[in-house]
């Protein structure tokens, strides 16, 4: 089992979700995040005083997948999230020892 984590642009979320659904991934978990990298932040001005925001909003997406699907899923996310502009984000995968579905207690692939 693998856990694939992707940091993507908030805008691309719908596309990624649809691509994953189309591929057959049944579930995922997302959360709000802020990223720092090559992509620049922005400045705001309040009564003439500048306020620089270094971090840009990102979505953090997590998908548990079976080992065999892992590189395909990564590929699916990659394609759907790509805009070609700086700040498109990262995807990584880590090995998972165990997965359980809370409702049933099922383990492993059955838990997905």
């Amino acid at each position: 089992m693998k856990l694939i984590t992707a940091i993507i642009k908030p805008h691309q979320l719908d596309e990624v979700k649809e691509a994953l659904e189309a591929f057959g991934v049944a579930g995922m978990t997302i959360s709000e995040a802020s990223g720092y990298g090559r992509q620049r932040g922005h400045s705001e001005v309040y009564r003439g005083a500048e306020y620089t925001v270094d971090f840009v909003p990102k979505v953090r997406l997590e998908v548990l997948v079976d080992d065999v699907d892992s590189s395909d899923v990564l590929e699916v996310i990659l394609k759907a999230a790509q805009t070609g502009r700086i700040g498109d984000g990262k995807i990584w995968s880590v090995p998972v020892d165990e997965v359980v579905r809370v409702r049933t207690g099922e383990r492993g692939v059955d838990a997905l």
């Binding site: 620049r40 705001e44 005083a49 925001v53 971090f55 805009t83």
Partner: protein, 493 residues
């Protein structure tokens, strides 16, 4: 205006004096109406997305700045100066900078001893100026709801000045400038216009159903057609980001509207009191009408629906509040509540992005109220009637089609004029200055790109600095966002 009653002749009193009670009410009413525009800013601001709430509110606020200034300079004079011909426009130079206005006393009408009705008017020129400027401001601000999230702020600013000058002031002159009140000769809709096609009877528009709501509503339609749609509309859902703001805004609008309508009596007596009651009655049934429509159609009565129903009812009763009975007001409200609740769907059918339903609420509501007068005008039980003033009956009360015809003509004239001229103004501005922001700016957030601000920073982090920032407080020496197109482009992602 009380003066919308065509039967009134304005008597120049031998020794005119100000009635402190009437003046107190008009000054208070003017403040109430002034408060409506910040209320509108909240009502509109709550309905857009988080990233454009400030821009939305700024469109209302800047209108206060520009139209208020212009009103003092030439707007008052263009609206209430002596007519320059055919009832189409006041002389903009007569009272330029309000010269010769503050020391005047307007609308002196002797008390009617028989009925105990208080004299109308007896108010200082300044009070009339005050009451009318806040009307002008909100009329212009209303338009902004149709083009939420995407209008270039500087172009909107210019638009407010031009639109007020070319569309609102003339229309207000037509409808609100009564012969012999603030000037010798006034506008063609307000006054008996024998020679014109109205055929002898003025249209009744007590507090601005035509000059303000139909006018602003149709102007919103023109701009919504002219400007590009919001990115993603109508596919993407764009829900109100803060309904508590919408509710506060609706509350303020409701509160202020009593100044709008009952203040239009320009006196504190039977007429104003009756108008107050009608204004409430219509709002109540409009809210119920909207909510029942929602409950039947969608399965739920929503808070946005309640707020919208309130505004729809207020819009519709605005022209009618003095000429229908309380029963009539209940009917006008119900019709507006149901009618507008159904009308807000039209934009999806016809494909124009009237973002905050200026058409569905103000144009449709204004038309409902203006036309229903033709049916429901009640010379006996209306505030006008109970105040001892004469007026025509509507169709349902035996008055025939006469008044309905006048109402239709008045409404139609404003509607067509406003649509055409607004479209031209919008088109010229669009070709010259550009009226919309780049799509990527809209997506990144118009607040950020146009105003270099974001509305909220509610992060729970209790540190001195927000976790997503690391800024330097310093006097600005450069223009960060604008100077760095790349950052702008990236920010949009």
């Amino acid at each position: 205006m009380v003066l919308a009653m065509s039967a009134i002749t304005f008597v120049a009193a031998d020794t005119p004096f100000t009635d402190s009670g009437n003046t107190a009410w008009v000054l208070a009413a003017a403040a109430l109406v002034l408060f409506m525009t910040p209320g509108l800013a909240l009502f509109y601001g709550g309905m857009v997305r988080t990233k454009s709430v400030l821009n939305m509110m700024m469109m209302s606020f800047i209108t206060m700045g520009t139209v208020g200034t212009v009103w003092v300079l030439w707007g008052y004079s263009e609206t209430f100066g002596n007519d320059v011909g055919a009832g189409l426009l006041g002389n903009p130079f007569e009272h330029f900078g309000l010269s010769g206005v503050l020391d005047a006393i307007y609308g002196y009408v002797p008390a009617d001893a028989a009925t105990g009705t208080a004299a109308a008017g007896g108010i200082p020129g300044g009070a009339f100026v005050a009451f009318q400027v806040v009307f002008a401001i909100i009329a212009v601000a209303l338009v902004s709801g149709a083009i939420a999230d995407r209008a270039k702020f500087v172009t909107w600013t210019v638009f407010t000045v031009i639109w007020a000058t070319l569309v609102y002031f003339p229309a207000a002159h037509w409808v609100f400038a009564f012969n012999g009140f603030a000037a010798e000769t006034g506008g063609w809709i307000a006054n008996k216009a024998e020679g014109l096609f109205l055929g002898g009877a003025g249209a009744y528009d007590f507090a601005g159903g035509t000059a303000i709501h139909i006018n602003a509503g149709v102007a919103g339609l023109a701009l919504a057609i002219l400007l590009r749609k919001r990115v993603g509309w109508p596919k993407e859902p764009m829900r109100p980001h803060n309904l508590t703001l919408v509710m506060i805004g609706a509350g303020i609008l409701w509160f202020g509207w009593f100044g709008f309508n009952a203040g239009s009596a320009l006196s504190a007596g039977t007429l104003a009191a009756g108008v107050w009651v009608n204004t409430l009655a219509a709002t109540c049934t409009a809210m119920l009408g909207w909510l029942i429509t929602e409950k039947i159609r969608d399965g739920h009565a929503t808070s946005l629906g309640a707020a919208s129903g309130v505004v729809a009812g207020l819009v519709a009763i605005t022209p009618a509040c003095a000429t229908v009975s309380p029963w009539g007001a209940l009917v006008v409200g119900l019709a507006a509540g149901v009618g507008c609740a159904l009308a807000v769907g039209l934009k999806f059918r016809f494909g124009f992005d009237d973002s905050l339903d200026v058409v569905g609420v103000h144009l449709v509501g204004g038309l409902i109220g203006t036309l229903l007068i033709g049916f429901l005008a009640d010379a006996t039980n209306s505030p006008t009637g109970t105040a001892g003033l004469s007026m025509n009956d509507g169709l349902f009360f035996g008055g025939g089609f006469g008044q309905l015809w006048s109402q239709t003509l008045g409404a139609g004239a404003v509607l067509i004029y406003s649509f055409v001229v607004t479209f031209i103004i919008g088109w010229v501005l669009h070709k010259t200055m550009g009226f919309t922001v780049p799509e990527e700016d809209e997506v990144a957030g118009i607040d950020l790109l146009e105003h270099a601000e974001t509305a909220y920073d509610l992060g729970a982090f209790t540190g001195g600095s927000r976790h997503v920032s690391s800024g330097v407080v310093a006097e600005r020496t450069r223009q960060v966002v604008a100077d760095e197109p790349s950052s702008k482009e990236e920010a949009s992602a």
